[in-house]
């Protein structure tokens, strides 16, 4: 409680007046209520990325979408309108703030060169360029147009794509589309395990 004028006066008054056993106390026992921290924050509706219950979450970020603010998450809570979780969240969903705002997040592309014992930074353009060359080289080296019985198969068995079970449908469609066009047959995701 900040040292309000009245407290100062009271302290001084009583100090000077000497003993008074039945001292009349003027300190207001004001209960300082913590203001509601999400009162003016921006509320974004999203879905928890963890399990397949698909709980609706509200992500509260600072600022009111004004141009000069980079939204940062201050709180994540359940979406009361979502018919499945009705505002509830499990211990993982309730701690999503620590998943969005996490010091361990990877922040830039890195590469480990053959034989090296450490990560090196790499620019995005160079990384994508190198990866594209690897893909083309591996595909061209091993592309099978006809199988042993001479039947058209057009497949590439030397590359694999794994992943995607916590990513969106649209991303997975894009992956299947691009990888099938490359002729990949090794295409798997967590549904398998």
């Amino acid at each position: 409680m900040e040292l309000s004028r009245r407290t100062f006066l009271k302290g001084a008054l009583v100090g000077g007046a000497g003993f008074s056993l039945l001292g009349f106390d003027l300190t207001p026992a004001v209960a300082q209520l913590k203001e509601l921290k999400i009162a003016r924050a921006t509320e974004t509706r999203s879905t928890c990325p963890y399990c397949a219950v698909s709980c609706g979450v509200l992500i509260y970020t600072i600022g009111d979408k004004a141009k000069n603010v980079t939204p940062q998450v201050i709180h994540v809570e359940g979406d009361p309108d979502h018919p499945i979780n009705r505002g509830t969240l499990c211990p993982k969903g309730a701690s999503l703030e620590q998943d969005i705002l996490n010091p361990r997040r990877l922040l830039k592309p890195q590469v480990r060169r053959p034989g090296s014992d450490h990560w090196e930074d790499i620019a995005w353009t160079q990384a994508i360029d190198e990866i594209a060359h690897w893909v083309k080289k591996t595909r061209d080296d091993s592309f099978i147009e006809k199988d042993a019985q001479g039947r058209t198969v057009n497949r590439c068995e030397s590359m694999a794509w794994i992943g995607g079970c916590t990513d969106t449908n649209e991303f997975n469609y894009l992956v299947v589309k691009t990888m099938r066009s490359l002729g990949l047959t090794y295409l798997e995701n967590q549904a398998r395990v």
């Binding site: 009271k10 302290g11 009583v14 100090g15 056993l21 039945l22 001292g23 106390d25």
Partner: protein, 226 residues
């Protein structure tokens, strides 16, 4: 019994122009150290004791500061109490004279001291007060430690928490009772008592009337030795 002290080399009982040294400097210093720490603990203790006196804490720097210093000065008071015990232990032992004195204490209260048997260095009331404070401070120390670290008393021993509070309060009230009488006697009732603990000397007349045995012992002792 008396302790040679850098500031003053005089021993109790030295007689100069009708004044007798009753308390050496170190005895006085320790008395006043104890007095100050006790008063501080009293004020802050009373603040914690009753809402109506909580404003006292504001006097001495606010609740948290009061709560912070109360235990430490409590310890200081305990130390000074033990030190006083070391100094006055022998003088404070109750003698037969004290028992006879106590039976006729009524006269002391009614200021008819002459009907009382002669008194040594400390009369029985003072001795009672001393022992009251002594045992009081021990109880205060033990229960105080319990209060100071109440959160580390495990839940299974929670009766210790409650006992600590009660013992501390009862002991404190007892010492406050003694303290009131001690201050009253020391300042209002016995003229010269206050200066004796401040300056350390009393008039020989004072010594003869209040502490005849102590006076005779002191003057005979010194004359005999001289």
């Amino acid at each position: 019994m008396s302790v040679s002290h850098v500031i003053s080399s005089r021993r109790t009982g030295d007689e100069t122009e009708g004044r007798i040294l009753r308390y050496t400097l170190s005895e006085r210093v320790h008395h006043w150290l104890g007095a100050f720490t006790y008063c501080y603990c009293l004020i802050t203790g009373l603040a914690f004791w009753s809402p109506y006196m909580f404003w006292l804490a504001a006097l001495v720097g606010g609740g948290p500061t009061a709560r912070f210093w109360h235990p430490w000065l409590g310890l200081a008071f305990t130390l000074s109490m033990f030190w006083m015990y070391k100094m006055w232990r022998r003088d404070m032992l109750t003698t037969d004279a004290d028992r006879r004195w106590s039976r006729v204490m009524k006269y002391y209260v009614e200021n008819e001291d002459e009907k009382l048997p002669p008194v040594g260095r400390f009369n029985y009331g003072q001795k009672l007060f001393f022992w009251l404070m002594f045992y009081g401070v021990i109880l205060l120390l033990i229960s105080g430690i319990g209060l100071w670290f109440v959160e580390s008393i495990p839940w299974s021993l929670r009766w210790l928490r409650y006992l600590a509070v009660t013992v501390h309060v009862v002991a404190a009230l007892a010492t406050i009772g003694g303290f009131i009488i001690h201050v009253y006697m020391g300042t209002a009732m016995v003229r010269g008592g206050f200066t004796s603990i401040i300056r350390g000397e009393v008039s020989t007349v004072w010594a003869k009337t209040h502490h005849r045995l102590w006076y005779e012992q002191i003057t005979k002792g010194t004359s005999a030795q001289k």
